[in-house]
């Protein structure tokens, strides 16, 4: 981690600010295994029915499942619906 990042993190810790804003990290919210919201993504790398890979600040987020559908896709948010089996961060 770079030095500036470390400073940012400590500031966020001290001021109790949400880290996803300060550090530009993705915020992942799931509703059961039916929906997944990914905020702060950096683009989509792969999209098939059973696997989606999304580039984020903390690495590549891989979502696997069945009948995956991109319900919504805008600059700051992706909504995936379907039967989600796995969510994984890869480097």
């Amino acid at each position: 981690m770079k030095k500036s990042e470390e400073i940012k993190k400590s500031i966020a810790d001290i001021l109790e600010l949400p880290q996803d804003i300060i550090l530009d990290l993705p915020k992942v919210t799931m509703v059961g295994n039916l929906q997944i919201y990914i905020e702060n993504h950096k683009g989509i790398l792969e999209y098939t029915n059973s696997r989606i890979r999304i580039y984020t600040k903390s690495g590549i987020l891989r979502v696997t499942g069945k009948n995956l559908l991109l319900k919504n896709i805008v600059v700051e948010e992706i909504v995936i619906v379907g039967e989600i089996n796995e969510v994984e961060f890869m480097d």
Binding site: G43, Y47, L70, K71, N72, I73
Partner: protein, 395 residues
């Protein structure tokens, strides 16, 4: 999400198919450009399906060139496309409009006039009067001033205390409240007698004006003169006519006979059941699987089912379900004491309705006698009440 969908529908959107090798790139380019895509579906390795707004679709060409894929239009959706389609079919639009107008005009007529709350005033009279002023089946609800009709009714029928007209869809419901019956009030200078309203034995007479002509212990029947308004004295040449009034308390008797069988036939269900269904279409009845009832002794329970459209608007279809339960008669002897109590209670309840509130109950007499299996009961309640009523003297 519904609001978003509605918004998209109003703005119009298209479903597109994107063919190419590197489709993720296409999606990323779209995001970058701020083109909103939704419902992205992978059809196969080289094809994607997505929804896109009309505006976005126009600026898609550059993106597709950049990403090296081809975009095909698959489906047009939403209000603008729909409106465009309808514009070409003017007759359809006209028909829709026409039917709408037809429905509105058809429902603006009154089909039924219903009167509620009349006891003394004849329904016929009110209905004919309403017809005269214009409220009748077939008249248009928007051309009737309900408040005016209410006032007219009030003026025409003096017995009414309140009139409320309500139009519920095609039904006009007229609710009326009648004035409480007031005893005839006579002006103080009109000469009158006091007569009995009921038969009874006089208990006390308080003649505040006029001469009492009955005394304690006298038996009077309804309509008998109690206090006369014609006062004659020795020194008077002609009798004086006065406005007689006063209170006359008398013992009145309220009597009731009741009988009850001491043997009650109770029907015990055997558990065997037979259900018959009948469908009723307006006046037409259709039996659904109509067989003979297989029991000789049974009780029937009927229930109607009417599919309601909305609130109390009902379809003219009715399903009548008759449940036949086989029964066996079982004779049961009722305890005589219990029967007596029951008769007594019922009788008192019935008599209480007749006895005026001001009356003072002084005595209750209960007689029972048994004839075979029947118990007869006679209940007499003695009440002291005012039986005075003024009656004008006509010369």
């Amino acid at each position: 999400m519904l609001i978003l969908r509605l918004w998209n529908y109003m703005r119009g959107y298209v479903i597109i198919r994107i063919e190419g090798l590197y489709l993720e790139k296409f999606i990323n380019h779209c995001i970058e450009k701020g083109i909103y895509l939704w419902d992205i579906k992978r059809l196969n390795y080289t094809t994607l399906e997505a929804s896109i707004g009309i505006k976005g679709f126009k600026s898609l060409r550059r993106v597709s060139k950049k990403a090296g894929c081809k975009v095909y239009l698959s489906e047009k959706n939403g209000y603008p496309f729909w409106a465009h389609k309808v514009k070409k079919r003017k007759m359809l639009l006209l028909g829709a409009l026409f039917s709408l107008v037809l429905i509105i005009t058809a429902t603006s007529f009154i089909y039924n006039v219903e009167l509620v709350g009349n006891y003394r005033v004849e329904e016929e009279k009110i209905i004919t009067y309403l017809e005269e002023v214009g409220l009748k089946p077939g008249s248009n609800r928007y051309f009737i001033d309900l408040r005016k009709v209410e006032n007219l009714l009030m003026m025409e029928f003096h017995e009414l205390a309140w009139v409320g007209i309500e139009i519920k869809g095609m039904y006009a419901k007229i609710e009326i409240v009648e004035k409480a019956e007031t005893p005839e009030k006579l002006e103080k200078d009109i000469p009158c007698d006091v007569v009995a309203t009921k038969s009874g034995v006089i208990e006390s007479v308080i003649a505040r004006n006029g001469d009492a002509i009955v005394k304690k212990g006298d038996i009077v029947t309804e309509g008998d003169l109690l206090i006369t308004g014609i006062v004659s004295r020795e020194h008077l040449e002609n009798p004086m006519y006065v406005h007689a009034y006063g209170e006359v308390y008398a013992k009145t008797y309220y009597e009731i006979n009741k009988s009850m069988s001491l043997v009650e036939i109770k029907k015990h269900k055997t558990g065997e059941q037979y259900i018959r269904r009948t469908m009723k279409l307006g006046q037409l009845q259709l039996a659904l699987g109509g067989n003979e009832v297989p029991f000789s002794n049974y009780v029937v329970e009927k229930s109607n089912k009417t599919p309601a459209l909305w609130r109390n608007i009902k379809l003219p279809v009715e399903i009548i379900v008759e449940t036949y339960d086989e029964v066996v008669d079982v004779e049961e002897v009722i305890d005589i004491q219990e029967a007596k109590e029951k008769i007594h209670q019922e009788a008192v309840l019935e008599l209480m309705d007749q006895i005026p509130i001001e009356g003072e109950i002084t005595n209750t007499k209960v007689d029972f006698n048994q004839e075979g299996k029947v118990l007869n009961g006679k209940i007499i309640i003695e009440v002291i009440e005012d039986i005075a009523k003024q009656k004008q003297i006509y010369n």
